[in-house]
Symmetry: C2
Subunit: 230 residues, 2 copies
């Protein structure tokens, strides 16, 4: 039996949200990792990196794991009926429904986080309750079959946690050692909890527009969804 893992590869994603978990997950035995998009044409990340999808969403096999990465392109998909229907359908039947960073907002828009504890990038935690999710601080948050990772680099921790669930802890440990995942963040400031408050304030200020934009985007998406259910 092959385990089918689908990572959504969409224009404007933050590529490390996807490439981090991908590096872990493709090492699992009897596993096929699909990079899913509407077409097989090259997709550009928010930083301009061109990545090739492997599988069209309209021809992908039933997924055991659905994973949605984050990135500013996520906003454009919040009212994309085709993508939301795909996520809702696969999310319903998949064994694991997962995200990294602001990918959680897309899970939320597809109605998949209602009543679940979840996390996202630290700067966007406040948006989770708009979808009925319960924000929880944590590098990786597991609630029943929902697994959500924090911002960007949390995808590697997420991938290893998922690897242990799918293939057992010994296998995941072998991958952690093989990838030499013994990190030494040079400045120990990767979360507001441990960073200098002045640095946090500066980064929050530089991201303020994006938070406002995302908030408006979520509100609009929820309105559209609500009116489509009248």
């Amino acid at each position: 039996m092959t385990t089918h893992i689908g990572l959504l590869l969409y224009p404007g994603l933050t590529q490390l949200d996807l490439t981090g978990p991908y590096e872990v997950l493709h090492r699992l035995p009897s596993t096929e990792v699909h990079l899913l998009w509407k077409t097989l044409e090259i997709v550009e990340s928010d930083s301009g990196l061109g990545l090739r999808p492997t599988t069209r969403i309209d021809s992908c096999p039933p997924l055991d794991v659905v994973m949605v990465p984050g990135g500013f392109g996520q906003m454009a998909l919040m009212e994309d009926a085709e993508i939301l229907a795909f996520l809702a359908r696969e999310g319903e039947r998949a064994a694991w429904v997962t995200s990294v960073c602001t990918g959680a907002l897309l899970l939320g828009a597809a109605g998949l986080l209602r009543g679940y504890e979840a996390t996202t990038h630290w700067h966007y935690q406040s948006l989770l309750p708009m979808f009925g999710a319960i924000p929880k601080e944590g590098r990786v948050v597991v609630d029943r079959n929902r697994i959500t990772g924090g911002g960007v680099t949390a995808g590697i921790d997420f991938g290893l946690r998922l690897a242990a669930i799918l293939a057992g802890e010994e296998h995941a440990k072998g991958i952690e050692l093989g990838l030499e995942y013994d990190p030494e963040p040079p400045f120990r400031c990767g979360h507001p909890r441990i960073a200098d408050p002045k640095l946090v304030a500066a980064v929050e200020a530089s991201f303020a527009d994006r938070l406002a934009e995302r908030q408006a985007n979520v509100a609009k998406a929820l309105e559209t969804t609500a009116s489509s259910h009248v």
Copy 2:
């Protein structure tokens, strides 16, 4: 003045060796990150991920930073005269000559590590002296203008260290926080120093053929280079 950073994007690379640093470095101000290969056709990583080069090596501007990632495809390049000549030429004039993982072996083959302290993936450290390099344990090793990172995930730490050198520590700290780089390796076994010796033995055994292959590959490359200098 634009800083030109060139990352070698070759067939069979380990994609996270490149995508980790890329995610950090593209956030630097006044910086252009080039993904370099012989052609602009899609390049496949050792895991099958298709990535798009941005710049051909025969038309790239003078580089301020040269970075070579690792991966099994590195072996095929150890006697590739075009690539070695490119690395030697850019390595000579670049301000920083760098690698992640087994990318160090390509720097070595291009004659760029002679007399320098350097690191690579933990499993391949023993190969560094073959190029006259001085192996040094460390997540990121800096010796004069050579910066070498350890295995795969070390590329993120490497990228942040380089970001601080190029754009200042405050900028690098902002990126570390923005990428939420506050890692929690689930099993704390990402280096033989901290892993259960039984796990290390198992992973070493599974990598043994590759070490032997790489050793033979390095020996052959050095022989060819030596005879071409007769």
